[in-house]
């Protein structure tokens, strides 16, 4: 009660000030969510513009005789001749932990019917990326829970790793699995009451997606109990292009709050191809000159300024990080397209998913040859590095030999052994969706593969055996898994324990 009276009293005190000055303009044209406004002589670039009926817009084109504004809401109530005014503010979104577990639109308004967002901190949507001095090299791992990725294309906190592939190759699944794995790790870490444990908070930005797909993602995250660590920024295909253009920047601002406050966050941009298309649409309506594939000249800057905001900060700046997993959809596996090459060159590596592998049942359909992580190996834990070091090479050799062996009838023993090992590794990497594996379990499985425990098992039964080993490790060998988790190392005595556990598992298997 007293706070309300204080508020009114303060407002009355403010009322004693002189006349206010606002800069106004008049709508001269209105089409496809973009208004051209005459007037607004004092408007700033990217300033929020107030349209009638509480509709907001952003000034994107400042021209000599007019201002081009994108409208962030329902345009049906607006008409030519309406008066608009400047607000003196840049577009900002609410940030903070209050957003966890919530679904918001491109400007941070809740759309999940769970009430208002209890946060009084806001960050501008467009911000300058951290410079060179506050940054630090990637040194901490961010486990996806996907064996093929964590072993061959490891990701570190603060890294930008592109997920690229054709439609329906499992790009979103990799991102969702990573989010689920963070939730699993967060729960385990927070339960352990380890003071050094750093949870990873996640932001999933859906751009130009079908509403049904977004609803399914929310349902999956809810079902596995991951939503409490996740914020979803939704700008579906039905939303206007301005919102689709803004959503990644809004999500990034939300992630930056965690980074700047000494925490770790992960952001998924699903997907930046549709983001570029939305930006192209806006640019064409604003009559900006178009270039290759009708994209405007600054389409590279569109993504570079977004992805540069993901960083690992040094101790002096809070030691926080923002890891980005942008997604790009290719057409017919063509990675040399305009937007794919742009984003490939901006990011620190890519996970390339192949349609052929996906159709063969190899899921996740990660292409070993075309996927790379430029900085992540520095962040891999020692135990994992020890067991996964040779896997990428072995698998690459297998792919090469497998192609040649089709023409050879008589193979030497060494080649045969490599082929056998490769086929087993391929089977081991097969993993069902929304089923990430914790790093200590992955280490144990990889160790078993490296130490020939799978050699006596038929190739067709490897996936089944891996599942059985996972169950065994989760029930009978929790102690050794915990030791690997705690120390992050694989010493001789751990290996001895692992060996006896594996022998025991093999007995149960037979």
């Amino acid at each position: 009660m007293s706070s309300i009276t204080d508020l009114i009293r303060k407002e009355i005190e403010d009322l004693s000030i002189d006349a206010t000055r606002t800069n106004v303009g008049t709508i001269i044209t209105l089409a496809d969510g973009v208004a051209r406004v005459e007037g607004l002589s004092n408007v700033m670039f990217n300033e929020m513009i107030e349209f009638p009926n509480n509709v907001l817009g952003i000034a994107l084109n400042l021209e000599e005789d007019s201002v081009g504004c994108v409208i962030l809401g329902e345009t049906s109530s607006l008409k030519e001749g309406d008066e608009v005014k400047t607000t003196g503010k840049l577009l900002s979104v609410p940030v903070g932990k209050a957003l966890l577990g919530r679904v918001v639109d491109a400007v941070g308004r809740p759309i999940d019917e769970k009430g208002a967002i209890d946060s009084d901190i806001t960050y501008p949507v467009e911000r300058i990326a951290p410079g060179i001095i506050p940054r630090k090299s990637v040194s901490q791992p961010l486990q996806t829970g996907i064996m093929a990725v964590d072993s061959m294309i490891p990701i570190g906190r603060g890294q930008r790793e592109l997920i690229i592939g054709d439609r329906s190759t499992g790009k979103t699944t990799i991102a969702i699995d990573t989010i689920i794995n963070q939730a699993k790790i967060n729960k385990k870490g927070l339960e352990s009451k380890d003071k050094n444990f750093r949870p990873v908070y996640c932001i999933y930005v859906a751009v130009g997606q079908k509403n049904s797909n977004i609803a399914r993602t929310i349902k999956v995250l809810d079902k596995v109990g991951a939503m409490e660590y996740v914020t979803i920024v939704s700008a579906p295909a039905a939303d206007n292009p301005a919102n689709q253009y803004l959503a990644p920047y809004s999500g990034c601002a939300m992630g930056e709050w965690f980074m700047e406050n000494g925490m770790d966050a992960l952001i998924v941009y699903d997907d930046l191809s549709k983001h570029a298309v939305a930006y192209r649409q806006i640019s064409l309506i604003l009559k900006r000159p178009s270039g290759r594939e009708a994209y405007p000249g600054d389409v590279f800057y569109l993504h570079s300024r977004l992805l540069e905001r993901s960083a690992r900060l040094n101790e002096d700046n809070g030691n926080g990080s923002l890891t980005a997993l942008p997604i790009i959809e290719t057409q017919m596996g063509d990675v040399s397209g305009y937007i794919p090459t742009n984003v490939i060159s901006i990011t620190d590596g890519q996970i390339f998913l192949e349609t052929d592998l996906f159709n063969k049942g190899i899921r996740p359909a990660v292409s070993v040859g075309l996927s790379v992580s430029r900085v992540g190996s520095a962040a891999q834990i020692k135990a994992y590095k020890k067991v996964a070091g040779k896997v990428k090479l072995e698998l690459a050799q297998f792919r090469e030999l497998a192609a040649f062996s089709q023409f050879e009838s008589d193979l030497d023993a060494a080649t045969k052994a490599r082929l056998e090992r490769g086929a087993r590794i391929v089977e081991m990497f097969k993993q069902s969706a929304y089923n990430p594996i914790l790093v200590e379990v992955q280490t144990a499985i990889m160790w078993a593969m490296q130490n020939d425990f799978f050699d006596s098992i038929e190739v067709s039964k490897i996936t089944e055996s891996v599942e059985s080993l996972k169950d065994y490790l989760a029930t009978q060998a929790t102690e050794i898994c915990d030791e690997i988790y705690q120390s992050g190392k694989l010493e001789k005595e751990n290996e001895d324990k692992l060996r006896s556990a594996m022998e025991d598992w093999k007995r149960t298997l037979s």
């Binding site: 508020l7 009114i8 009322l15 000159p289």
Partner: protein, 132 residues
């Protein structure tokens, strides 16, 4: 795009030519310009005319303000405001006054792109925004 820039440039030059000694748009000069433009082909004159119209409107709006007052003695208030504004901007500003009872009290003044408002209606709106 280039054509429009060119016609805007011409329109600006024409506007400059139509300004009198007091910095106001001279009606006679505008009439002469229009007469001259009539002799030009339509494709050439139309974009220039459109740009000229917009520029003249902006120029006139900079010295002809509109004031809405929630009071009956609008002329007195209008004269006071006009004098005060002319002193501030260092050039004569004419005000077109009208009554607007929805302001409840106070005034709303528009000169060019700027709106100066000190009305009860605006204060209530601000209070409402602060409370919601």
């Amino acid at each position: 795009m280039a054509k429009n820039a060119k016609s805007l440039k011409v329109a600006k030059a024409l506007l400059l030519a139509s300004i009198d000694g007091e910095g106001r748009v001279d009606e006679q000069k505008i009439k002469e310009i229009l007469k001259e433009l009539k002799n030009q082909p339509r494709s050439k004159s139309l974009p220039i005319l459109k740009n000229l119209l917009s520029l003249v409107r902006q120029k006139i709006a900079s010295y002809e303000g509109q004031v809405e007052i929630a009071s009956t003695n609008i002329e007195d208030i209008s004269n006071i405001l006009s004098k005060s504004l002319s002193d501030t901007f260092n050039y004569k500003i004419d005000l077109l006054a009208s009554t607007n009872n929805s302001l409840l009290s106070g005034f709303r003044l528009r000169i060019g792109d700027n709106v100066y408002e000190d009305s009860l209606h605006q204060r209530i709106n601000r209070l409402q925004k602060a409370l919601t």
